[in-house]
Symmetry: C2
Subunit: 344 residues, 2 copies
Amino acid sequence: MAGGSGSGNGRRRSPSMADVAALAGVSHQTVSRVLNDSPLVREDTRERVHAAIVELGYRRNAAARLLATNRSGRIGMVSAHLALHGPSMIAGAVQEAGREAGYDVSVVGVLQLSEEALRNAVDRLLDQAVEAIVVAVAHRDAHHLVRSLSLPIPVVLAQGVEPGEAMAAGIDQVAGARLATDHLLDAGHRSVAHVSGPTDWTEAAQRCEGWRRAHEARGLLPGPEVPGDWSASSGYDAGRRIAQDLSVTAVFVANDAMALGVLKALHEAGRDVPGDVSVVGFDDIPESDFYFPSLTTVAQDFLDLGRRAVELTVRALSGEERPTVELAEPVLLVRSSTGPAPAG
Amino acid sequence: MAGGSGSGNGRRRSPSMADVAALAGVSHQTVSRVLNDSPLVREDTRERVHAAIVELGYRRNAAARLLATNRSGRIGMVSAHLALHGPSMIAGAVQEAGREAGYDVSVVGVLQLSEEALRNAVDRLLDQAVEAIVVAVAHRDAHHLVRSLSLPIPVVLAQGVEPGEAMAAGIDQVAGARLATDHLLDAGHRSVAHVSGPTDWTEAAQRCEGWRRAHEARGLLPGPEVPGDWSASSGYDAGRRIAQDLSVTAVFVANDAMALGVLKALHEAGRDVPGDVSVVGFDDIPESDFYFPSLTTVAQDFLDLGRRAVELTVRALSGEERPTVELAEPVLLVRSSTGPAPAG
DNA sequence: CTCGCACATGTGAGCGCTCTCCAACAATCC
DNA sequence: GGATTGTTGGAGAGCGCTCACATGTGCGAG
């Protein structure tokens, strides 16, 4: 036991605060103060410490800091279908907005939607000691789970929320759908068909609701509703069914990808867009301007949504009880896939 | 100061190992053993501990564990343009493959590509104590940065790599481009035009290279090259220029989104696809089957790529010096946007 | 009946940081 | 000139875990 206490330890440990302190000729506490921008350090001391930090390539150990402070500076986010336009935009926006607010954002994607998968995702985030969780899964089950889950940290919902709901940010899907449907009805169409998203997705349900209400408000009966699954392929199938019904002169499709399929099916069936049939999409993906014809669609400001979600998070974190933000309003982009109802 | 030492401390701390140990009537070490599946625990003790864990809702503190072990079980990933199909698929695949291999994956997206932004991203990952980093930015600068950066942890490249490169997984872009170009040349076209991606992206450069070589191999001169930026909009601009040149009968477009733009421009110029002009894309995004006409394109197995990248990471982590995997081969999907060269 | 050896469990140090206290010293006041 | 500030610095505990070790059993062998 005497003598050589194992010094030559193969892999060199990274420098610690003590090493920096020793090199700068101060105590570890002073180094800590410098790192945390405390004003209680003389300028030349601060510089000496900084020099030591650079020389050693010191980097503060986040785990130790977290252990001591119990604050991770990290927000978790759970998302599904990250390959889809909306979810991926929201994830990017939350990450960006979080960063602006001084938080790191960890995104965990759920592949198969199930209660277990969601719980799992939340568990993984909890393991990372996140201070709050943003759930951006606009699925009914997710909504329920979030509300039932009683976590010691704030959980905010992004997307698929109801107006006035606390701890929830969103874009008014019902309003967006009404915008789209009203545009068609205003153009003289007697009714509008709808290609919907999967019904267990709250957004799909809300868009459907808006479409229905737009008709109701005018005392009209809505056209046929054909279910899809967000994919272009399902839109194509729906489009083929719609093309057979010659009384349909206008279609509101729940997202742009499906609208692409609808457009193709209509085209193949020899029905002209917008001459015979008008089509409106939802999402304004960058490609939709280059469809044939370029697609009238509803645009949502995802970046703003991300910012609102983070704003809620920050407010909740700073003690506010059940912070609320208003739903954002989507915008209709009129392009060339819509026109007046055909005469007759 | 006597008496009531602040016991009613508002926010209750989450239970620690010691709490579990006390409840189960064992020492904290035994709890640790149970948590780490040590065989040195009697069955009934193990059950008692488990019961205590459940009762208390105990969850192991990852920061403390990391501090003690110096192993985070986390892999970092830096990605850019997560809204694009390829990058987003790769991110998902790496996350999934990492999870299978027992690692958590942290993705940090870079918005503006710059050396500083990349360094920043790496810094953020380092702060999370990742054990390795996967860089999935197929940009020349990223490639350089990664090779110059000398980190104490393994860094593997995914996408935009050269054959035989160590610590790098990829899909052979040159081969993919040759596949596409040869398909057109085989169909009798005398030369093929190319709408390329931004030239500082290695993938764009490699696809361009494959297109060039395919001509070379037959002693042909390549058609005009028009630069794009991956967006449908830039593809549209390129398509308009190409449509003016009546000698062009075939176009290889560096990705599907730009191909959509090309298709539209060609259509507007009255040039029939594939009657007058054949078009091939790259990526096989789910929508490309529903373009007008449905797009012949090159498909890449991103999931496999993710798995290979993680495989490299794991091998490097387990001490292998400079592990290598082979480039994967992409596949040509022939659909209806390509046909024989027009007579004349 | 002691020894030894497997197994099962407990003890204590230390990971790198932040926090709460306390010490040293200069400048200021009555 | 001694008490009173304010400024700058240091010492030490403790966050919750894992590690290396010490300890306490039971049981067959010498």
